[in-house]
Symmetry: C2
Subunit: 224 residues, 2 copies
C-alpha cells in the first residue's frame, strides 16, 4: 500500500506542477496579448483554457481515488487533502489568465492599456510568470525555502499594484474612466494570480513543516 501511495502521490504532485506550468504559460501569453494587442495570442489562451480545466478535474479525481483506494493516514492524508485545495488555487490562476486574455480580445484592435501603464503590466506579468514557475517548482520539490521566496516576489507584486493605483488616482490621469476600469480589473487579476501562487506555496510549507504561514491576503493585499 505504502509503495502504491508514494507512486500515486508523486503522480498527483507532478500533475499539479504541470497545471501550475500551464497557468503560468497562459499568464505569459495573456500578458503579451495585452501589451501587444495581439488577438491570436489572446485567442490561444482562451482556447487552451480547457486543458487547465481538464487537468483540474483529473487532479481532483486522482486525489479522490487516492483517498478511496489507499485510505492514507496522518501526514499522507494531509498531503492529499492539501492537494485537493491546491487544485482550486491553480484553477483560479488559470481563470485569471483567461480573464486578462478576454479583456485583450474585447478591446482588439485597440490597445487596452494607456502607454503610461504598460511598464507596470510588463513587470506584473513577469512576476506572475515567475510565481507560476515558482509554484510548480515548490510542488515538485517541496522545498520550504523556495516556497518562502515566493512571498518576497508577491511583495514586489503588491508594491507594483499599489503604485499602479496611485497612478490611476492621480489628477494627471488623462485616459478616461473606461481605461481606468480596465486597468483596475487587470491590476486585480494579476494581484490575485500572485496571491494564489503564494497560497500554493503556503500549503506546501504547512505540509513539510506542520506550520501554516500567515495568510498574505489578510495582511498585504490592496484591500487591507
Amino acid at each position: 500500500m505504502r509503495v502504491a501511495y508514494n507512486e500515486q502521490m508523486t503522480e498527483l504532485a507532478d500533475m499539479l506542477g504541470e497545471m501550475a506550468g500551464l497557468a503560468g504559460a497562459a499568464m505569459e501569453r495573456a500578458t503579451q496579448s495585452l501589451l501587444q494587442a495581439d488577438l491570436s495570442l489572446a485567442e490561444q489562451v482562451i482556447s487552451d483554457h480547457d486543458q487547465i480545466t481538464e487537468l483540474s478535474v483529473a487532479c481532483e479525481e486522482r486525489a479522490f481515488a487516492l483517498l478511496a483506494l489507499q485510505a492514507p493516514v496522518a501526514g499522507d492524508l494531509r498531503s492529499v487533502v492539501s492537494g485537493i485545495q491546491i487544485v482550486s488555487d491553480i484553477d483560479r490562476m488559470g481563470a485569471l489568465a483567461l480573464h486578462v486574455a478576454k479583456i485583450a480580445r474585447r478591446r482588439h484592435p485597440n490597445h487596452v492599456l494607456p502607454e503610461e501603464v504598460n511598464g507596470y503590466f510588463a513587470e506584473m506579468g513577469r512576476i506572475a510568470v515567475a510565481l507560476g514557475a515558482g509554484a510548480r517548482e515548490v510542488l515538485e520539490t517541496r522545498d520550504p525555502e523556495r516556497a518562502a521566496k515566493l512571498r518576497e516576489e508577491d511583495d514586489a507584486m503588491d508594491d507594483l499594484h499599489r503604485h499602479l493605483f496611485s497612478v490611476l488616482m492621480d489628477r494627471e490621469w488623462k485616459h478616461g474612466v473606461a481605461a481606468a476600469v480596465d486597468v483596475t480589473l487587470l491590476g486585480r487579476f494579476y494581484e490575485r494570480f500572485a496571491d494564489h501562487a503564494v497560497e500554493v506555496a503556503r500549503r506546501v510549507i504547512f505540509l513539510v513543516t506542520g506550520k501554516m504561514p500567515v495568510d498574505p491576503d489578510e495582511t498585504t493585499s490592496l484591500e487591507s
Copy 2:
C-alpha cells in the same frame, strides 16, 4: 462507524451552514456601512472577521478528523471532500465582505459611492445576502431544487453588474476616476461573493445528483 460518520457529517454541514450565515451577515453589515458611510458597522465587520477564519480552520480540522477516523468511502468520502472545497468558497465570501468594509472605512467620513450608483449596490447587497442565506439553506437541507434557484439569483447579480459597468463607461459619468476605481472593485467583490455562493450550491448538487452543473464563472461572468 456509520452512526459516528453520520453524526460527524451532520455537524460538519451545520458548521459550514453557520459559516455561510456569518459571511452573509458580514456582507449585510458591509453593504450598510458602504451605503451609510457607517464607520462602526465597517469596523464590526472587520473585527468579526476572525470568527469566520476560526470557523474555517475548525471546519477543515473537522473534515480532516472525519477522513482520518472514519475512513469514509464512495458517496460519504465525496461528501467530506466537497466539504473541504466548500470551506474555501465560504472563506472567500467572508474575505470579500471584509474587502467591502475596508473600502468603506478607508473613505470615511466620505461616502464611497456617488449617489447615482447607490441603488445598484443596495440591490447587489440584497442579492448577496439572499445568496448567503440560500447557501446556508442548501448546506443544511441538501435540496437540489433550492440549489438550482441560487443560479437564478446569481443571474440577477450578473445583470446588475453589467448595468453598473455601463453606467461607469458612460460619457456622462461625472464622479472622476477615483470613484470609478472604487465602484469597479466593489462591483467585482459583490459579483465574486455571488459566484462563490453558487459554487457551494453546485457542489451540493453534485453530491446529491452525481452531476456537476456548468461553472457559472466560465459562462456568465463579466470577463466572458
